[in-house]
Amino acid sequence: MLIRFFFMLREGGLKPSITELLTLLAALKSGVAGYSVEDFYFLARAALVKDESLYDRFDRIFGAHFRGVEANFRALAGEVPEEWLRRQAELLLSEEERAQIEAMGGFEKLMEALQKRLEEQGERHEGGSKWIGTAGTSPFGAYGYNPEGVRIGQAGSRHRSAVKVWDRREFRNLDDTVELGTRNIKVALRRLRRFAREGAADQLDLDATIDSTARNAGLLDIKMVPERHNAIKVLLCLDIGGSMDDHVRICEELFSAARTEFKHLKHYYFHNFIYESLWKDNRRRHSERVPLSEITHKYGPDYKLVFVGDATMSPYEIVYPGGSVEHWNEEPGAIWIKRLLKAYPKAIWLNPEPRARWDYTPSIKLTRELMEDRMFPLSIGGIDDGIKSLH
């Protein structure tokens, strides 16, 4: 049974190893988990999933695999789960409601009916007016409207039925295929640090030590060299204004994180697409522009070029002279970006638009071709892939 679950996890994009499966089995054998599904869920998660961004995927697979099993559980038990019945003492009923229960035949009758219906009901259920489940009007279930109701499975720490824990999918927004949110972006941007801080070293400068010890008539004189800092250089070009307004926040965060990470970070702005000049200060974008030739001249080819933009515009703005929405450009943007890419062979384009929309926007397709397919979504996974291709 667990082997099938294991392969289901692997198919679902999680990569648990055999070691991890063996660990889980060893833990089960030693009896850590007790005999409840919920315990097993917690244990399996701790043993098999090592990244909170994959919790949600795990929850879904776990739910899909064990939902049937749980139904069997119920059939085996042949009666109302003990946990549910225990709640009878905790019914939140007022005097009037209690009177209404009397109308239905009293408390015992109600519980009897509950048990009977559970036997009829084969599976998990939501809505509706008879079966037990959530959001319905049957007297049994949760979040419902029947005043004679017995609350079953409504969130409360002691009572939650096992399936609910993973059904709640609390870690949904951490899944790395989801576009970045405010919390996610912090995690993702830290990935940039990975290649900016490699090779930290705090070493004895052997040559200088020998040299100065010799000069010191053989008395030891230690010389140290300072830690070697990473010399990675980044040229960041940000699209600003227009359709990018929806993405301002995300770009701000990317920018501020990048700024603290890299010692050599140069940034420039552009509007919609790259033409003959860029600018550094948005308030003086018309008066203080830097010609592209000056940029390629000033910063060597060891700089890595990162564009951030939605590349959403009219295709004319890319391929025709004079296509720019702001000024008359003698040469089309496509030529200018080719020049930039020639000067900086290591380049990527990060696009805040979801990947699914890329194929439907001609300008994105065009930009992607110009970038030789090095366009990545501005999501955790996208930044990760982008950084890999920059290496």
Binding site: S17, T19, A47, K50, D51, R190, R191, R194, R197, L220
Partner: protein, 285 residues
């Protein structure tokens, strides 16, 4: 095994899933890796596990310059060189210059210890890889003295990470993993109750309400976390602020008293004040 189950302590509220992960790690003697938002009690967990199971605790705090070797031992070659120049007799035994690190200390402990490796992500990217064998086999080799150091008892290893760097797969495979999610209102009430047992119900309710409201303010750079809430309540108690003041602030002034304990950077405070101002204006109109 019943006595060595971790169930939280009188000072620390552990959720079911956290307890399960810790107990699995303790039973199987595997390291446990803890991640979570800052201020959710990752480091404290090791202290509480040690206290609850009555084990000695060895803490190894990692910095960006920490090397894996430093946890094992340091060979003080410079001291030996100096001693040789001064003609010290100690110089003939290399073992005199081997300084034990935290891992060695934990390995040498007479009872099973708890070893905390705090903020492992701060170190160099290769750091966890350098510790694979040590954490797996619980042994290492001292090259200078040609001695194999083996753990007398496999320590309970608690590793915390703030997610600043990704950890290598080979390392992750050897650990149990738990992500401490931000506590819901109910757990939070328990946590506050553990820290301030005699807190008035009213004050707690109001304080939590304000706290979760502040957390919901869109665009905060650093959302206040559990430890900030506890600090804030401590301040409220010290200043003897009545619960009514908190409710008042919701309706009229809307800036909670002593909010400096909750918001830790000026942009956030500024944003918050702006929102409050807008809110107040929309109410008066």
């Amino acid at each position: 095994m019943a006595d060595s189950k971790f169930k939280g302590t009188s000072r620390y509220v552990a959720t079911d899933d956290l307890m399960m992960a810790v107990n699995a790690a303790v039973t199987l003697e595997r390291p446990i890796l803890i991640k979570g938002e800052p201020g959710t009690g990752k480091t404290q967990l090791a202290e509480e596990v040690a206290a609850a199971l009555d084990r000695p605790l060895y803490e190894w705090h990692i910095k960006s310059t920490t090397k894996a070797q430093q946890g094992l031992y340091d060979y003080d070659a410079v001291a030996r060189l100096r001693d040789s120049q001064l003609g010290d007799n100690r110089v003939h035994d290399i073992a005199n210059y081997i300084v034990r690190g935290k891992i060695w200390e934990a390995f040498a402990s007479d009872v099973q210890p708890v070893l905390l490796i705090d903020e492992i992500d701060k170190a160099d990217i290769e750091f966890p890889n350098d510790l694979l064998r040590e954490l797996d086999r619980m042994e290492f080799y001292v090259y200078e003295t040609k001695e194999l150091v083996k753990a007398t008892h496999r320590p309970i290893v608690v590793i915390t990470s703030n997610n600043e760097k990704e950890l290598p797969d080979a390392f992750l495979r050897r650990c149990f993993f738990h992500y401490i999610k931000f506590p819901d209102t109910e757990t939070m009430e328990k946590i506050v109750d553990v820290h301030f047992p005699n807190l008035k119900k009213m004050l707690l309710k109001q304080a939590l309400e304000v706290f979760y409201k502040v957390r919901e303010v869109p665009g905060l750079k650093k959302k206040p976390s559990t430890s900030e809430l506890l600090d804030w309540i401590k301040l409220l108690l010290a200043e003897d602020i009545p619960p009514e003041a908190l409710r008042d602030s919701e309706n009229r002034k809307a800036i909670p008293p002593l909010y400096g304990a909750l918001l830790k950077n000026e942009q956030d405070v500024h944003l918050f004040e702006q929102l409050v101002f807008l809110d107040r204006r929309s109410r008066t109109q």
